[in-house]
Symmetry: C2
């Protein structure tokens, strides 16, 4: 066998989300694009803001020697400097600290950034806590670097439970990885919740005499609903890093640009900056793509028409409820995470698929009994999918009643 | 401590090449750009071909929905398809096999591609052989994925020695990683040499009942001198993959685009393709940057004015010889790897640095007693650096004579 045992297993397990993405492509070829309701992958469908296109054309037209060449591994100085200023301003009220360029490392998306952070902090056997339900790729981002994921359940409303986090921490714990606004639940952790988490990590760090790191994955930071603003996670705990990207803000996930922001208040921030930069180099990214760094430099306050996600969320959640689904309203990100009308969410996802509706079973996020709908379809498509949701629910009830007899 | 023990050690060891790159930036600020002769990093200084700029502007101006969105993890179908055609044609005479899209996986540069391949094939404790002198980052690309590098020396003319490779192979050996045209030596392995290597790997695979993989890192494939053409490595051994990039061909290393090409003749090519694609996803690249994939699609036969490297090589090698240096003539890539006039190449590199000449000690490539000069300076700069080379040589001779007394 040419490939490794570990990768062989990983291929067999697949990624539900990705398998559905590929499945969706095939279905669309078979039935036509307008007949397949692809709620599977979180692939932003909004066009990038107009300013993005203008900046891209401007950068493309430039004639700057070395513009496409290597750069320091942490990224372009001018882009990092703008981001540092932006972070200082946007976190100031809560954090009151000044970011400088060394606190910012440009990465190949947030996923690349998370891998760099894990590479930078994990020794073999270290544990990283995650709050379930969670984005399943986290398993790999930790496992890739010799760490082990340890799952802590949130409560039935998907809120973090500080006592459970405390109980899960042991002498092997190196980090807590959180994601707010959350994929798949849409929860946005409030300042009080974050403070409690910070307090737990402080006490646990003292107890186990280890520097436990809070890693906050925030690609959906700008996508919040009902007037909620995502609070600064960094303000809740000094030993923290934020990982984010331009993928959702500017609707450019394929361009693979993100960054790691290190809390300026952290003791050892400089060491961590060097470590993440080194990881960026040796994991093979070397540096984040050059051109797109120049493009986003002046677009830090620009965004796609993100309000669309709230509109879709309110609309679809409302319609699904009318049909009889149990759906809680997300506070941010761009997913619904309804309850599966039958206990087996895999079976229910296959009933949806019969209606050409692609949804990811909750099992794919460590929380069976639910399914995830990504709100990356426009409203007319969502509208047209409702009949399918209705029929699938009928079938589910029918088959479940049948089973019960 | 926030960072891991392993990364801490790595930071302390640094990368000589990268440290010099950063040192060079500082020196240039201090003395001015024209007074520092930066032969350290292999950062192509040639402008990209005109066709690149035209294609970039065209793609930037396009209004294609989803153009900056996610795509299959292996990359854009249309780009992979063009590359498959290109590979089929350019390898046909030697290999006689047809590449299809599944044999091509787009990656974040060749470095990203090598990491994906290693992730795809290595189980913990597996060994990867490299031929010294070698690009030192290979250590990390293997270590990142639980493998161990095992060094096999080439002969005094930097040619591979099949007998030594045979002797180095054991039951833990999973791969041989070669680099031709070679960094730092400039050696281009000939068809006969490659056939012998292939034969050794075939016999060893039988002997140890393992599928030993030949991984060929070929970012300099198009940069060959004296009319030499780099032969198809894939033709020499079925169980082989080629990893390359657009970094040198188009002079765009900062854009981070490369690909892995799997030998269509390999049994299990499909498995390896799935494994490399999965690795691309879980290591956080997700996919190679979108925009630049569309840009290069029709530029596969375009190149920067690569002949410049041969001109510089001939010129600098000749001049250094006149001064009294011992330099062998490279057959390709864009480096000279002269003998250090004193045994301690670290000391000699510091003598060069006193002349504002940045060169990487051979120790940085596992071959002390040499130093590497990257030919990414224009001829007037090379010309102006000669005095410094002359003075450094004088000092070296003087200090060494002194030591001898």
């Amino acid at each position: 066998m040419v490939i490794s045992n570990k990768i062989k297993t990983a291929i067999q397990n697949g990624s539900m989300v990705r398998l559905m993405f590929e499945d969706g492509i095939k279905l669309k070829i078979q039935y036509g694009k307008d007949a397949v309701f692809d709620y599977s992958l979180g692939n932003p469908d909004l066009p990038p803001p107009l300013a993005f296109k203008a900046a891209l054309e401007e950068v493309a037209a430039e004639d700057k020697p070395g513009a496409h060449g290597y750069m320091p591994n942490a990224g372009l100085q001018e882009t990092r400097s703008e981001i540092a200023k932006y972070l200082t301003e946007t976190h100031w009220e809560e954090l009151g600290a000044i970011f400088d360029v060394d606190h910012v490392i440009m990465t190949v998306g947030a996923a690349g950034g998370l891998n760099c952070v894990m590479k930078a902090i994990l020794d073999p056997g270290d544990e990283v806590l995650v709050l379930a339900p969670y984005f399943m790729e986290y398993f790999y981002y930790v496992d890739n670097h010799g760490g082990a994921l340890k799952v802590v359940e949130t409560d039935s409303g998907f809120r973090p439970v500080p006592g459970r986090i405390w109980d899960a921490i042991g002498k092997k714990t190196k980090a807590l990885l959180i994601n707010t606004p959350n994929n798949p639940t849409g929860a946005v952790y409030g300042p009080g919740e974050l403070r409690e988490i910070g307090e737990v990590l402080s006490q646990a760090s003292n107890r186990f005499k280890r520097d436990i790191v809070l890693v906050s994955d925030e690609p959906y930071r700008k996508i919040t609903f009902k007037g909620i603003k995502a609070p600064s996670v960094l303000a809740a705990y000094d030993r923290s890093v934020m990982v984010t990207s331009f993928s959702k803000d500017l609707s450019i996930p394929g361009e693979r640009l993100g960054y790691v922001a290190i809390n300026p208040r952290m003791a050892g921030a400089g060491d961590l900056s060097s470590a993440v930069t080194l990881a960026n180099r040796i994991l093979g990214s070397v540096n984040a793509p050059a051109l797109i760094q120049r493009v986003v430099k002046n677009l830090l306050r620009e965004e796609a028409d993100l309000g669309m996600y709230e509109e879709r969320s309110v609309f679809l959640a409302g319609e699904l409820r009318k049909l009889g689904y149990e759906v809680s309203e997300p506070e941010g990100a761009f997913y619904l995470f309804p309850k599966s009308p039958i206990p087996d969410d895999l079976v229910f996802a296959s009933l949806l698929r019969e209606e050409n509706i692609l949804a990811v079973p909750g099992e794919g996020f460590g929380r069976p009994g639910h399914f995830r709908l990504s709100l990356c379809l426009d409203k007319p498509m969502i509208q047209r999918s409702l009949q399918g949701f209705s029929r699938a629910l009928e079938k589910a009830r029918h088959s479940f009643d049948g089973e019960g007899q």
